[in-house]
Every structure is written in structure tokens, then in C-alpha cells.
């Protein structure tokens, strides 16, 4: 046991500067490149393990990992046609929500990471620009006002997500206009996002009070759930969320620069105003996509980037890939817990993320909080 703990400690020491002896004279860049590769390998490994566990366990019972893998490969190779019961269950029920959970977990974590760097505030989460309130307001408006045009009946699965994306981007647009009108500082964005969020939440509350009997379709969305995910919208979440997350990583050095403050970043040659505006739009679009299909899931976007900073230090070239991986793994685990803990009922996944993450984060805060000038 001591040997295992020692190995884990040495392994972690290799990932964090504070744990590397000061007289270790190796190249810092070489060490970071190595850490990046380790993060990728560990990330792929743990994501694959969580993915397999996720499709193996459900409210109906547990299938051995090897059987789950065999059924998965068989179902995929058949292209979803002529499947036996187990293959059908995995392919049609568990796989889409698992795929969506990866996209949403990664997307929310990296959006949180981007916003925390852009606003340089540790209390910021992906919903800081009012995206979740705008999305929620529009989604509920659609349900309450009964917008189910017959011409759109084939696309009824997409009406709420589409309304949510429009609402999220509308809220962000208003926040952007107000914040830029006030000077465009980080504080302006926080204040503008907060008041816009309040405004949309108020409208949402009015809608809820108008028609409280017809809200079953939307309650899942308010608290976050993967229950309504189908193959079509699973890929609509996964592909853009992962693509945007990975593309954003190319600007990791600029995010590092941003942490020194806007004046310093500007003075070092970054066009701060343009970078901030573009990245705010990117992070808000990413958040809107995540929120649109699975609702408002808190905690991941706030805490995963902090956890990665505590584990790995302040370099976004390591924090961003680690956030993608850790966000995806936490979301897979939270979705698993949400659907099996009181099966056959499901609990909101947003509640699970917070319940799992809070004690873990509190422990990390106690252990590393003194070193962490958050």
C-alpha cells in the first residue's frame, strides 16, 4: 500500500512544479511537454474506462465490461440495424447520452476555464454572461406559449434546444453590448452579465407562474439531464463542443498572458480587446450548445478549471487539456450516478455534479488552498 501511495505521489510530483525539487536542472519546457503527453494519455485512458463503465451500468443492471465492449463493437459494426436486445439497449439508450455527457462535460469545463482567465476572477463560471438565464427563459417561453407549429413537427426535438441557443446568445449579446458600452473591463462584464441574468430569470419566473401545470417537458431542462438525448442531438452536442474546446486550446499561451492583466497583456503585444471579445463569443457559443440540449448543469464549469490549476499549476497549455478530460470524466460519472442511484427514477445531473464535486474540491482547497492565490 505504501508503495502504491509513494508511486502516486511521485507521479503527481511530476505533474506539478511546486512538487519538483528546485535543484532539478531539467529543461522546464521539456518537463511541460512531457506533462502534456501524460495528461493526454491518462485522459484518454480514464475517459475510455469511464465510457465503458457508463455503458455497462444502468438502472436495469450491470453488464460485465467485456460484454459491454463486445456489444458496443457489434452494434456499431452493424450500423445500428438488426441488433439483439442488449446491443439495442446500449446503442439506442446508453451510448447517445454517454457521448453527449463527454461533449457537455468537456465543453462546460473549458468554457469555465476560458471565462475565469478572461475575467481573472475565480468565482466566474460559464454562465457569467447570462447565457443560462437567456437559454432557460427562451426554452420555457417555447413550452409555455405552446410553440409547436405543425410544419415543424418533424423537428419538435429541436425546438427547445434551438430556442435555448437563441436565448443564450441573445442574453450574451445584450451583456456584450452593455459591458463594451461601459468600457469593456472584466468587472463590466461581470456586472452586465449579472443584471442581464437577473432580467432573463425574472421573465422566466413570470412564464413559470403563468403556466405551472404544463412544465414537465421543461423541468428536466431547468435542472439538467441527459435523459432526452437521442443519437441526432448527441452528435450535435459532441462535435461542436469538442471541436470548439480543442480549437480554443491553440490560444492557451494567450490565456496565460491574459492572467497578467489586460495592460500587461496589451503591452506584451496581444490585441486584448479583440482577443477578449472573440474568446467571450466562443465560450458563450460553447456554453449555449451545452445548455441547449441538456439544460443548466452547474459546478463543472466553476470547479474543474480550479481543480486543474491546483493539480497542475497556472499554465493553460496544461490546464485546458486537463479540464477537457476531467470535465468529461466527471460528467460521465455524474450521469451514471443520476440514472442509477434511485432507479428507475432519475435525479438531476446538475445536483449530482455538485454533490460529488463539493467534498472533493473542499479537500483539495484545504490541502492546496494556501499555495493558491485565488
Amino acid at each position: 500500500m505504501k508503495g502504491i501511495i509513494g508511486t502516486l505521489r511521485r507521479g503527481y510530483a511530476g505533474l506539478n512544479d511546486a512538487m519538483v525539487p528546485q535543484d532539478d536542472n531539467r529543461s522546464e519546457i521539456a518537463i511541460k511537454r512531457k506533462r502534456f503527453r501524460v495528461i493526454l494519455l491518462l485522459g484518454i485512458f480514464f475517459s475510455a474506462v469511464m465510457f465503458l463503465i457508463s455503458i455497462s451500468i444502468s438502472s436495469g443492471g450491470i453488464i460485465p465490461l467485456s460484454d459491454a465492449l463486445t456489444s458496443l463493437i457489434s452494434a456499431v459494426s452493424k450500423g445500428g440495424n438488426g441488433l439483439n436486445t442488449e446491443e439495442l439497449y446500449i446503442f439506442q439508450s446508453r451510448l447517445p447520452r454517454t457521448v453527449a455527457a463527454i461533449g457537455v462535460g468537456a465543453g462546460l469545463a473549458i468554457a469555465g476555464c476560458m471565462f475565469q482567465a478572461l475575467i481573472r476572477n475565480p468565482l466566474v463560471d460559464p454562465y457569467i454572461t447570462g447565457v443560462s438565464s437567456g437559454a432557460g427563459c427562451m426554452a420555457i417561453a417555447v413550452v409555455v406559449m405552446g410553440i409547436s407549429l405543425s410544419a415543424l413537427s418533424d423537428y419538435s426535438n429541436y425546438i427547445i434546444p434551438l430556442a435555448a441557443i437563441i436565448g443564450g446568445l441573445l442574453a450574451f449579446g445584450i451583456t456584450l453590448s452593455v459591458a463594451e458600452g461601459a468600457g469593456g473591463s472584466a468587472t463590466n462584464y461581470i456586472l452586465a452579465g449579472t443584471i442581464v441574468g437577473f432580467a432573463f430569470t425574472s421573465i422566466q419566473t413570470i412564464f413559470l407562474s403563468l403556466e405551472k401545470d404544463n412544465l414537465t417537458n421543461v423541468m428536466w431542462w431547468l435542472y439538467g439531464s441527459f435523459a432526452n438525448i437521442t443519437w441526432e442531438n448527441a452528435f450535435l452536442v459532441l462535435i461542436p463542443a469538442l471541436a470548439i474546446s480543442i480549437i480554443a486550446m491553440f490560444w492557451a499561451r494567450e490565456f496565460n498572458l491574459f492572467m497578467t492583466g489586460e495592460d500587461q497583456a496589451n503591452q506584451l503585444g496581444l490585441n486584448v480587446r479583440r482577443f477578449k471579445a472573440v474568446m467571450m463569443v466562443v465560450a458563450s457559443v460553447l456554453t449555449s450548445i451545452c445548455v441547449a440540449f441538456v439544460g443548466v448543469i452547474g459546478f463543472v464549469g466553476l470547479v474543474i478549471p480550479h481543480a486543474c490549476r491546483m493539480l497542475l499549476g497556472g499554465d493553460h497549455r496544461l490546464i485546458m487539456p486537463a479540464s477537457i478530460v476531467l470535465g468529461a470524466c466527471l460528467m460521465l460519472f455524474a450521469d451514471l450516478v443520476a440514472r442509477v442511484v434511485i432507479a428507475p427514477l432519475e435525479i438531476p445531473v446538475g445536483a449530482v455534479t455538485a454533490l460529488i464535486g463539493t467534498p472533493v474540491f473542499a479537500y483539495m482547497l484545504i490541502r492546496r488552498g494556501r499555495d493558491y492565490d485565488g
Binding site: D17, M259, T260, L268, G314, Y372
Partner: protein
């Protein structure tokens, strides 16, 4: 403009709303000098430095560095000539000293992600120059005020600028660190880098700077050798304070404020 002028400013003006903060500044600063910028709060010291590094962009007039006008320069090109040391260290979550100083290489790194071995070598050399190499893996938040200030100067140093602008570098430091920071700045000026320091400690400025620029209400009052320009009359004029200005036993100027003159 003289041949050895590094910084040339002509008729520099900037307004914020109806308030004109700088009223037509003219200035020539030669290469390789430690230049002190002295004046009361709000006299335009920081504003002038922000105009030079183009953090303020709405100024009128002309600023040129080593003969090149900064008017149409991109931020990245300015960054290769001018470095800026802020008064306050930034709050950085989990960032190490090495990471912070490495950011000074940003204008020169062409690769998308990783700095080159040459960049790392330049940073390690700077850390050794400033006595920080042993702390390179320490988090910035855990450094002392003096170490943080040295780290910020080291970050500016690895930018290899022709002109370094330093805003109130000793405001949070004790006597030892004040002298230490000023000696580092003086050594950089001796190595052909021009260093402009805005500071309130006039005795410290007078002791270390080659020339002093005295400002009041957005204008330059006088420029010259500190031993010649810093007088009791000048202190009274710009600060509205009675002060004793004298030479100590080593022949260094000291300024001792006595009382402020009631309006």
C-alpha cells in the same frame, strides 16, 4: 534630435473627456540612461508612460523610439522595443515564477505553443541575473514583495527592450529591497538599455538616476541632472511643501519634507 536619442516626444497631448492630462510634452531621452520621472500624484507620469507604450491610444503628437514613430506600430512591434513594469504584481492563480518571466518572451515566440530552448535559456539567465533562479518553480503568490518586484523586472528584461518603463517599483518595499531594485535598474541602464522610472521617493531618484524629469499638472517643469534640478524651491513649486534639500557625507542628495504649505 541628437544622434544618441532613444526616445523622442513632440507635442504629446491626451484628454479624457474634457480633461487634458498632458499639455504638449516635448522630450528627448538619450540611450543608456536611468531616467527618473518625478511629480505629485496625478501630474501625468503614468499617463505619459502609457502613451509611450501605447496602452493609451488616443494621444496626439509624435512619439518615436530609436527613430521609428510608434503611431502606426502594431502592439507586437512595440513590445519588441518597450517593456512595461507595473506597480502592482498581478494576481495569478497557481502560476510559477518561471511561467511569469517566460511571458516576457511572448513577442518573440513564433511557435504556437511551446517556447524554444533559446527562450528558456534567456529566461534562466535573467533569473540568475536577478537572483531568482532558485525560486523558479515557486508560485508567484508565495513570493515576497521584493521577489515579486524583481520577477516583474526580470519579465521586462527578457523582452530585451530598448526602453523599459517602470511604474513605482519601490512603493511596497522596505529599505533593503528599494536599494536592491534601484541597483538592478541602474545596472540595466549601464548595459545600454534606457530605463524610465516613475517614483515618489525623490532622494532615491536623486541618488540613482542620471537625469530627472520633473512634472506638474500634465507639463514638464524641468529636465536635468538631479543634483542641479532638485532644489528646495522646486519642491515647493511642484509639491507645495517646504523641504530641506542637502548633500549627505557621501555627497548624495537627500530630500527631507518639513511641512506642507496650506493653500
Amino acid at each position: 534630435m541628437t544622434d544618441d536619442s532613444l526616445l523622442r516626444i513632440r507635442d504629446l497631448r491626451i484628454s479624457f473627456g474634457d480633461f487634458e492630462a498632458l499639455h504638449g510634452i516635448d522630450l528627448d531621452i538619450p540611450k543608456g540612461l536611468l531616467v527618473g520621472l518625478i511629480g505629485p500624484n496625478g501630474c501625468g507620469k503614468s499617463t505619459m508612460m502609457k502613451c509611450i507604450s501605447k496602452l493609451h491610444k488616443t494621444w496626439t503628437g509624435e512619439i518615436s523610439i530609436d527613430g521609428d514613430s510608434t503611431r502606426d506600430m502594431r502592439p507586437i512591434d512595440i513590445a519588441k522595443m518597450v517593456a512595461n513594469v507595473p506597480a502592482e504584481p498581478p494576481q495569478m492563480f497557481g502560476t510559477t515564477l518561471m511561467d511569469l518571466v517566460m511571458l516576457g518572451r511572448y513577442p518573440f515566440v513564433n511557435k504556437v505553443w511551446w517556447e524554444s530552448p533559446e527562450d528558456e535559456k534567456a529566461v534562466r539567465e535573467a533569473l540568475q541575473v536577478f537572483g531568482l533562479d532558485h525560486y523558479r518553480r515557486k508560485q508567484v503568490s508565495l513570493l515576497s514583495s521584493g521577489e515579486k518586484q524583481r520577477a516583474l523586472i526580470a519579465k521586462a528584461y527578457v523582452q530585451q527592450p530598448k526602453l523599459m518603463l517602470v511604474d513605482e517599483p519601490t512603493s511596497h518595499l522596505d529599505m533593503k529591497y528599494k536599494l536592491e531594485v534601484m541597483e538592478y535598474l541602474q545596472n540595466m541602464a549601464r548595459s545600454d538599455m534606457t530605463v524610465m522610472v516613475a517614483e515618489h521617493d525623490i532622494s532615491l531618484m536623486a541618488r540613482y538616476c542620471d537625469i530627472c524629469i520633473i512634472m506638474k499638472k500634465g507639463s514638464i517643469v524641468t529636465v536635468g541632472d538631479p543634483k542641479k534640478v532638485i532644489t528646495e524651491d522646486l519642491i515647493r513649486e511642484i509639491y507645495e511643501v517646504d523641504a530641506r534639500v542637502g548633500l549627505d557625507l557621501d555627497g548624495e542628495i537627500y530630500v527631507l519634507p518639513k511641512r506642507y504649505i496650506r493653500g
